[in-house]
Symmetry: C2
Subunit: 347 residues, 2 copies
């Protein structure tokens, strides 16, 4: 059985879009991302194979936070600061809760109208990709497209702190977690998984009374975290954090822009830290391990579906399951199917 991961030629349509993107055509960029969103890894594969040597140059900033945190406004401010420096910025706004697909701008991007006509800025929203590889994978691929397009900075902004957001942030060089002041119970959620991926904590709406309280809470949490012994055998992001970057906590006001230049300085110092300590390469290696896992799992899963639903021999196994005899349970039969087909499976 031919595995579906095997090479296929690039579609002429896709190749033409990439050629246009290379000449700076913004619409071609948008259409390539739509292809990644709708076409799944079979389509992404063609794009990534072609553009990959042109990637690896962008600096990727991840921004997350709860809906009330002012995250989008702050993203706007950060983008504006970088735009002032003459850099080319791309923003990917990821919304895993929305059932609608990307292509258009997010509603709340209307706020960004001041930046909207800037040709150094590209904003793209991404929502569900359904079963075709998932949103985290589509986001990774959109990042590669913006990277090949020549973005100096790619900002990936997402709501919430669920598993899919954590997956998305494995792609970032520097990750910011934005919090509103004075919601103590949120700290719990943050402890649960986001600390490992956070490089800078931002307490937004600093004009509010409880901002300092939140800063103190975070600092205390970080004090405790620093005393946790990291399991070096564990191949997860915590190993990376043992490199002794303590996430700074900064207060900002996204509306007035107060402390935004200071935040940019922190981002830049983390960027420098990552480069000089080798953290950047460790993160990259980690990221690509996950990407490879995603890719292999996707195509294997497809192959398994094909195997089960198109091979007439499978019906005998299913009949065996339906006999309800000892040893004919779905787990035992799955083992048998694997054993029988595994040898020829990838050939």
């Amino acid at each position: 059985m031919e595995s579906s991961i095997k090479s296929s030629k690039i579609d002429l349509d896709i190749y033409n879009l990439i050629e246009k993107m290379r000449k700076g055509d913004r619409r071609a960029v948008a259409r390539l991302i739509t292809k990644v969103e709708n076409g799944g890894p079979e389509v992404s594969k063609q794009i990534i194979k072609e553009i990959y040597p042109e990637t690896g140059k962008s600096f990727i900033i991840g921004i997350t936070g709860s809906p009330g945190s002012g995250k989008s406004t702050l993203t706007n401010q950060i983008a504006s600061e970088y735009l002032k420096k003459g850099l080319k910025i791309s923003i990917i706004a990821v919304d895993p809760t929305s059932p609608f697909s990307g292509g258009a701008l997010l509603g709340d991007r209307i706020r960004m109208k001041s930046n909207f006509t800037n040709k150094n800025l590209f904003i793209r929203s991404m929502a569900n990709r359904g079963k075709l590889g998932g949103l985290a994978m589509a986001t990774k691929e959109a990042i590669h497209i913006f990277d090949a397009y020549g973005s100096d900075i790619i900002i990936v902004e997402t709501v919430g702190v669920g598993q899919s957001e954590i997956d998305i942030f494995k792609s970032a060089h520097t990750t910011l977690v934005i919090m509103p002041p004075g919601m103590g119970d949120e700290i719990q959620a943050i402890k649960a998984g986001i600390t490992e991926i956070t490089d800078i904590f931002v307490v937004n709406k600093m004009d509010r009374n409880e901002a300092d309280k939140r800063v103190n809470e975070l600092e205390t949490m970080l004090d405790i975290a620093e005393n946790i012994v990291v399991d070096q055998k564990n191949h997860n992001i915590r190993i990376i954090k043992s490199n002794k970057w303590r996430p700074p906590v900064i207060k900002t006001n996204a509306i007035s822009g107060e402390n935004v230049p200071e935040l940019i300085e922190l981002i830049e110092s983390h960027r420098e830290f990552s480069k000089t300590t080798g953290l950047k390469n460790k993160k990259l290696a980690y990221r690509y391990k996950h990407y490879v896992v995603d890719i292999i799992q996707y195509f294997q899963n497809k192959d398994i579906e094909r195997l089960i639903f198109s091979n007439p021999k499978i019906n005998e196994f299913i009949d065996q399951i339906l006999s309800y005899k000892t040893g004919s349970d779905p787990y035992s039969i799955s083992e048998m199917i694997l054993e029988l087909f595994s040898k020829r499976y990838f050939s």
Copy 2:
């Protein structure tokens, strides 16, 4: 590399729980389901292998509908009717939107207090199982446990009509879709995927004016659906539906109980229809094909993660990716990894 799907001995703890369940111990049933929820397929495998020959006897009813439809009250009524006949009923209330794990009763189950102390009734809520195989798989396994426990009827109730609900309903013999009257736009959502899995449409809250309007809408939709040519090559549930069961549409009042006995009659006639036409076996075969796909994918995905994260050779491949050379993109490298490891992979 040893594949993780391979047999492992049953834990004594699990075996003892199964023995207790065989003697009718309700707490053992609850604990087995908790094990399935928290332990993932590695644990479920042991349970299913042991109990499988004792399953296949329950009649499984799937009930879904939007939150305002009165679905839970109707589930209660249906359970009551069957309890009157002296049957043993189990209810699994699946809530994919809740971040909290099962074990306890759902809040709205307080309404069921009239049935609560009945020892022929078992109610269990199930929520997210996270990454360990997913909720749909855990639900399938809970169904097998209730089946082995000797339930005559298992009712699987879930909110919404998303992909995960559709996956869950692949396990039901007879699926009811409950709708409130007069919300015309819902029909759209229903068209999108739920029609294929619906055996009986229930318009609840029949005392309301718009109930008849909704019934008419549904009948019109079904008229149109009957004229759709089914692609026989397509291995999905639509093939099953071509067996010419037209879902009846019935009005009920879940609070007063009006038309509930008539609904039970419809359920029973669908049950009979399924048996005599062979639809039941076709559905079963389809269900177990999906279950086998779930199982194989789960263990394969685990094996792939292990392969990528624990094999030191992988680091060379990752270094190659980080060279950003042509042909060193993640897709090409994934192909190479698969090619190299596939032969030894399952041995």
